[in-house]
């Protein structure tokens, strides 16, 4: 096949000196640099490029850009990526593309058999059948048949995705003539401007048209303009950058497909723009007639793009079919390209605007195309005189169609701007804007270049609040015909033709389908969409949706505005998920927090866990081949019998100070703090206003109205929020200041009977005697040479010293402790053994006993609830609740009858172990090292009154009996921790 058959010898924006070899459906082809896959295939005479979604009809290329409804390919190899409109793929060396959803090839597709049963499978047929024996019987094969491309199983092949934030005075979406001139105007004023366009280069429709601007070829004007924009540092010009979402507060999202930065594969921008100009142009819509999907039927504007921009000849004998005037520019360019233009079918009856220079073409006025002939390629068309009904057949292999122009209002509509129907233009146009944005150019339904540019300049001045006197001078332009159109929503169905008129080419939805839906009562446009799936494909109905609306209007005998549109939603075109998350993946996917001895912990074999508030902390420190339980037992025993050290640094810590600090603390906690002495601390329970426990911790008094509060690790931020909220919104007159000091202080908690000896060995100027430094006291002094705040609190029930030092000292302190502690056999312990020890003591743990449903009374913590305070947060709710329902699930201890069987935490307790509603559940169950048996804690209905009763824990396969005890198994009087 000689090349020139399909490629013009000169012109176009391709580089004939750079030949590129690529593969399509396992065949090798050549094209030129600058070609899209579509244009390159066309230049090779390939017209059959796809099979349709449902009926597997042969399909070709229909559009030239993001509107393409027909030919989708998947890229294979490194570039693996599915469902790419063939028109949006640039050819490059090594490109390997394959048609989707056909097997073995578009030319011979086995599923094409669906065409023959098409009568049986109209829109929504699946709701009426496949019920017997059941849907599962059919589902797998239906699923295999659906779905277009296969899912990618490789990720990007080079670099990484990036997301970033940007701010600007003006974001211009679209760099056609409107966007470019607007950018030029805006740039002059010094405003921060971003100009983004989806295309490979700026220029928009100018790249596809033969126009003169300022006496030059349009492309030269474009390139001069972009060069001067690029020279200004207040302008950011992006190409291959789709603006795909317009969200609240003028936030727009852009994704750049090939940013210039090395290593950045794709980049998304979240742009907060003070003003937005939507210069997205217009999209040509399809025409609906019998077999309008045959390969060889194309959008007229696409033809224009192929002949002008890519210098290809999309066919040999062309016919154009339109209901509007834009077809004549296409006719002119076609003729110039050397393609034979056989005729123009102009459905309009009332206007005659055939340009002077085209008087020689054959125009069938007031005609429509009734149907296409040929199967795998268009071979002829039948046209029909709309007045007389007489028909004529015309042989051709290319049919360009134009159903009129729809302003690309997608983003405008996403911005919540309403669109309104314009009967003269037979389309929906932007109405009043709601956010700070305006449509310019063809997006605002202006279709001549002169007016486009004038409009753009004027609205730019408005947007930037500039005086009209600042308007830049427009380049002189050639005169253009006014746009005129007469709506043609579809050619009347001719039932005898036994053919299909496609209204959504991608989803294989026909005009009959729309009519069927309406006949069955689905006559709202949203019902039609969902019943037929029209507009729900990858192209989101860019070329077809308006015809659906028109068809409904025709049938209902109303205007399209009464039908309305479906909702325009982001994304404007499909966007790779990877481009949305940028570098937020892998290790940084979620934040993580380290204490200053994290490395030490890891080096000493700690198994690191996710704990609250994104801290990573040691769960346990297994020794060589120890089993989990062995380690936990060893660590627990160490605390009970000897000495261990625990990294308690993540605990939330706050300094609270001010004349009203005590008032605040008394409001936050259920118990009284007013009699607390300086240097002493008190355990407190924090409730939410509903009376549910949400945190606990110890608060020390540093001085009058000056406190040091600790909170649970996981809740530090929530407690901070809770305090600031109460202070700032409910008691703004209280004078209290809170400083977060969680990481100012690190800590090493010595616990075990030998803790005091160890403190001594470390060397300290603090008097360690129980009298001078009692339980719940805090003392400041030097420990092991480090300035420290030492607290005597205990979560394990053993004698403990919490040594808090400045974080910078923590590793040194820790190493000192390990060194000095050698004679005591000191060893670090993790949160697992802490869990065992606190269960032995019956101390509550957030997430276990306090699971977001429990009140202090439920946990037997009545002692921690002040009887004298008139108010604290949550007090009132608890009183109301308790008065209404005294018998709640309450904390108890459990001794399973079989002392060796660990029971799952979370297992329910049911009456008699029967399979019925539960009366409680096991909140924690551990192997107790002091009792050498299993012990558990549970919440049990009315449990505080059921001591010694046998209850039944229902595991899935058997029932475990257990005796109810008090929820403390060790040192009930608490002598050890006070020792």
């Amino acid at each position: 096949m000689s090349k020139d058959l399909f490629r013009q010898t000169k012109g176009g924006l391709i580089d004939r000196n750079q030949t590129i070899t690529f593969q399509f459906n396992d065949t090798t082809y050549q094209g030129y640099s600058g070609d899209s896959l579509a244009s390159a295939l066309m230049a090779n005479g390939i017209y059959l490029t796809a099979r349709s979604f449902k009926y597997h009809r042969p399909r070709g290329i229909v559009g030239s850009g993001y509107e393409e409804p027909s030919s989708l390919v998947e890229l294979v190899g490194d570039e693996e990526s599915g469902n790419q409109p063939i028109t949006r793929v640039q050819i490059r060396p090594g490109l390997n593309a394959r048609s989707v959803n056909c097997w073995p090839s578009p030319n011979f597709d086995l599923m094409a058999i669906n065409q023959y049963i098409s009568k049986l499978i109209p829109a929504a047929f699946y709701y009426k059948t496949f019920k017997w024996p059941n849907w599962h019987f059919f589902e797998p094969s239906i699923r295999r048949a659906a779905g277009l491309a296969s899912a990618p199983n490789k990720t990007h092949h080079q670099g990484h995705y990036e997301t970033r934030n940007a701010h600007c005075d003006l974001l211009i979406v679209g760099a056609g003539p409107a966007g470019l001139i607007a950018a030029l105007q805006a740039a002059r004023s010094g405003a921060r401007v971003i100009l983004a366009d989806d295309g490979l280069e700026s220029g928009g429709s100018l790249l596809s048209q033969h126009l003169k601007i300022g006496g030059k070829e349009a492309i030269d004007w474009v390139r001069e303009t972009t060069a001067s924009l690029d020279a200004m540092d207040n302008v950011t010009r992006l190409t291959e950058a789709t603006v795909w979402a317009y969200r609240e507060h003028n936030l727009l999202v852009i994704t750049e497909r090939s940013p210039a930065t090395p290593n950045v594969f794709q980049r998304s921008w979240r742009v907060r723009a003070k003003q937005v100009l939507i210069a997205t142009g217009a999209i040509e819509r399809n025409l609906v007639f019998a077999n309008n999907d045959r390969p060889g039927v194309m959008m007229a504007s696409a033809i224009q793009s192929y002949v002008n921009r890519y210098a290809v000849k999309p066919g040999k004998r062309a016919v154009l079919f339109a209901n509007n005037s834009s077809i004549y520019a296409v006719a002119r360019d076609l003729k110039a390209s050397g393609v034979e233009l056989v005729a123009v079918i102009d459905s309009r009856s009332s206007v005659n605007d055939l340009p002077e220079d085209l008087q020689d073409i054959h125009v069938f006025r007031n005609f429509v195309v009734e149907q296409c002939h040929g199967t795998k390629h268009l071979s002829a068309i039948t046209i029909k005189n709309a007045a007389t009904g007489e028909t004529t057949k015309i042989v051709c292999d290319l049919l360009g169609v134009s159903g009129g122009w729809n302003p690309t209002v997608h983003l405008f509509s996403q911005s919540r701007g309403k669109v309104k129907y314009d009967a003269n233009l037979a389309t929906f146009i932007p109405g009043e804007a709601v956010q700070a944005c305006q449509c310019i150019g063809s997006a605002s339904a202006i279709f001549t270049l002169q007016q486009v540019m004038e409009d753009a300049v004027q609205k730019t001045l408005q947007a930037l609040d500039l005086d009209p006197g600042n308007a830049i001078l427009l380049p002189p332009l050639e005169p253009e015909a006014e746009y005129s159109i007469e709506a043609l929503w579809h050619v009347d169905l001719n039932e005898s033709l036994c053919s299909k008129s496609f209204i959504d080419i991608q989803n294989d939805v026909t005009l009959s389908d729309v009519h069927l839906a309406m006949r069955e009562g689905f006559d709202a446009v949203e019902h039609v969409k969902r019943y037929t799936t029209a507009g729900m494909g990858i192209d989101q109905g860019k070329t077809g949706n308006l015809n659906v609306i028109g068809a409904i209007a025709l049938k209902n005998g109303c205007e399209p505005d009464e039908v309305g549109t479906t909702t325009f939603r982001s994304p404007f075109v499909p966007i790779e998920f990877g481009a949305l998350t940028g570098i937020r993946e892998g290790s940084v996917y979620l934040p993580y927090r380290h204490t200053s001895i994290t490395q030490w912990n890891k080096d000493h074999g700690a198994k690191m866990y996710e704990s609250g508030a994104r801290w990573r902390r040691p769960g346990y420190y297994p020794r060589s081949d120890e089993l989990f339980q062995t380690t936990v037992n060893r660590e627990s025993r160490l605390v009970r019998e000897g000495l261990a050290v625990y990294d308690g640094a993540p605990l939330g810590k706050f300094e609270i100070k001010g004349p009203d600090a005590l008032k605040l603390i008394d409001m936050l906690y259920t118990n009284n703090f007013d009699n607390l002495k300086v240097g002493m601390g008190r355990y407190g329970l924090m409730l939410n206003e509903d009376g549910i426990i949400f945190d606990d911790g110890v608060t020390f008094k540093l001085a009058d109205n000056h406190y040091f509060m600790s909170t649970s690790t996981g809740n530090a931020d929530t407690v901070n929020q809770h305090m600031e909220f109460f202070l700032q919104t409910h008691r703004p007159d209280w004078r209290v200041k809170i400083t977060t000091i969680t990481t100012q202080w690190a800590n090493a908690t010595l616990c075990g009977p030998k803790a005091r000896e160890m403190m001594q060995a470390l060397g300290t100027d603090i008097d360690l005697s129980n009298e001078a430094f009692p339980f719940m006291a805090m003392r400041e002094g030097k420990v092991g040479g480090f300035q420290a705040r030492v607290c005597r609190v205990s979560f394990t029930g053993e004698l403990s010293f919490e040594i808090n030092v400045r974080s910078r000292d923590s590793l040194a302190l820790w190493e000192t402790i390990m060194e000095v502690g050698k004679p005591f056999n000191i060893s670090p312990v993790g949160s697992e053994s802490n869990h065992v020890l606190r269960v032995e003591k019956g101390f509550l743990s957030l997430g276990h006993e306090a699971d977001g449903t429990t009140t202090p009374q439920d946990l037997g913590l009545n002692w921690a609830m002040s009887k004298t305070k008139t108010d604290y947060i949550g007090k009132r709710a608890n009183e109301i609740r308790l008065a209404e329902n005294p018998s709640r699930w309450q904390l108890v201890g459990l001794l399973p009858d079989d002392p060796k069987e660990l029971v799952d935490e979370s297992a329910p307790i049911t009456p008699g172990g029967r399979r019925e509603s539960s009366e409680g559940f096991v909140t924690a169950c551990v192997w107790s090292v002091v009792h050498n048996r299993v012990i558990a804690l549970a919440l049990l209905e009315n449990g505080q009154h059921r001591m010694d009763e046998t209850i039944y824990i229902r595991r899935k396969d058997h029932v475990v009996t257990a005796k109810v005890t008090a929820p403390c198994f060790y040192d009930v009087k608490g002598q050890l921790l006070r020792s």
Binding site: S150, E610, F694, G852, S906, A907
Partner: protein, 417 residues
């Protein structure tokens, strides 16, 4: 009701599908009905159907401000399951799943009900504990839930290649809920509408309720004011998911509800890759693949009350991030469309099916995960309306619980915001 089957399809094919009858009528709006149901979503339509079918009450109007089935039933991620945590909730959802399983036959409409199981990908110990609680409690009420190990999890979900031992949140285990299913959401609304209509219920689209009307003497409900005039009834049910307070506010009735936006998105359609519902509770994303091939993905709700059916960028990005951590090969998969829905949530996050302080006024609300609940929600609300007493399955969902501050805290966390 016209029968739907392969035979009726074949028969109609011969006549060019010209003879299909309307799925529902558009009768004139009467002045009075026995019962008015506000909202032709899943719950409203199911309620109407069961009123007619189970209780013989057919003088019923369903009033819908837009097009029927255009609310949340058109926008949810179609997950049906019964793995709840509380004894008060589980039996209700078990019943709903049972009803769903028979619905295609009962309504003579292929709902494409696909029982394909849900698998939770568990990544933290606290979550594992919570889910185990659901597992044990489910077992008490006939809702199955089984633990599987990581290898098996990966075998069942081939593209799940993230979450390895070195990753930020390694996968600990999987939990399989075999009776979970997906089905065609729109078809649920359409099939209930068709069947209710067939039994005499009237569905009035484009009929917006603007105001509730009360009897001036005893304060009981009288009817409603709509954009098409006044319509009277002694019993009115507010079943408008997300918009409940907009209606009850018109008579000053106070309800513990907040409206918010939840959003979802779909990828481009691709060939089958996942045949179960995947739920990742630790990182807040869940997904399934529709029969048409697109991945249907949901994430967390927006912060703040909202009636905007749109997605917020950061919420969306969070969901995508989470998905890609576990499914890295989806990086090159493409987003095709995203949208949102307006839901309401009660103070304790558990739904409300209840009489109100206003005689004759019923509400069914707080359905922020209520697609799965459509059949049982309708079934029990119809019972309540017909008999004026709570069905035992929804007895715990009555408004009375708030008067005692005795919440059903399903989420296992403090009250939802």
């Amino acid at each position: 009701m016209q029968s739907y089957s392969i035979f009726s399809l074949a028969r109609n094919a011969l006549s060019g599908h010209q003879n299909w009858s309307k799925a529902w009528r558009s009768p004139p709006l009467k002045k009075r009905y026995d019962v008015i149901i506000i909202g032709a979503g899943g719950h409203g339509l199911a309620t109407a159907y069961y009123l007619a079918k189970n209780h013989g009450i057919t003088n019923v109007a369903v009033l819908e401000k837009g097009w029927l089935g255009g609310g949340n039933i058109a926008r949810n991620t179609v997950t049906i399951r019964s793995n709840y945590m509380r004894d008060e909730s589980i039996p209700f959802y078990v019943k709903s799943v049972k009803l769903y399983e028979g619905l295609t036959k009962e309504l003579n409409y292929n709902l494409m009900y696909s029982k394909r199981s849900m698998i939770d990908v568990v990544q933290t110990y606290p979550k594992l504990r919570e889910i185990k609680r659901r597992m044990f409690n489910g077992d008490l009420h006939g809702s199955a839930y089984e633990r599987i190990e990581v290898d098996e999890l990966r075998r069942r979900i081939p593209p799940l290649t993230g979450g390895g031992p070195e990753s930020r949140l390694p996968i600990l285990a999987g939990m399989v809920h075999p009776s979970a299913a997906v089905c065609r959401h729109d078809a649920v609304a359409w099939s209930y509408a068709r069947a209710a209509d067939d039994r005499g219920v009237e569905i009035h689209q484009n009929t917006e309720v603007l105001q509730l009307l009360r009897d001036s003497t005893d304060g009981s409900i009288n009817g409603v004011e709509t954009n098409r005039g006044t319509v009277y009834a002694d019993k009115v049910a507010v079943v408008v998911s997300g918009h409940t307070t907009s209606i009850t506010d018109t008579i000053g009735l106070k309800l513990p509800l907040k409206s918010f936006n939840l959003s979802a998105f779909v990828s481009e359609p691709v060939k089958p890759i996942i045949d179960v519902i995947v739920n990742c509770p630790d990182i807040g994303v869940y997904l399934n693949q529709s029969d048409k091939g697109e991945l249907v993905i949901g994430g967390a709700p927006d912060a703040g009350q909202s009636f905007r059916r749109d997605i917020k960028q950061q919420v969306f990005e969070d969901a995508v991030c989470s998905m890609l951590e576990l499914f890295p090969s989806f990086k090159r998969l493409k987003l095709m469309r995203q949208w949102g829905g307006t839901l309401d949530i009660a103070h304790d996050a558990t739904p409300i099916v209840s009489q109100t302080d206003v005689q004759g006024l019923y509400v069914s609300a707080g359905w922020w995960g209520g697609f799965k609940a459509v059949p049982a929600g309708g079934y029990t609300l119809a019972h309540l309306i017909a008999k004026n007493e709570q069905h035992e399955l929804t007895a715990p969902f009555s408004l009375n619980r708030f008067k005692r501050l005795d919440f059903i805290l399903e989420a296992g966390t403090t009250t939802a915001t």
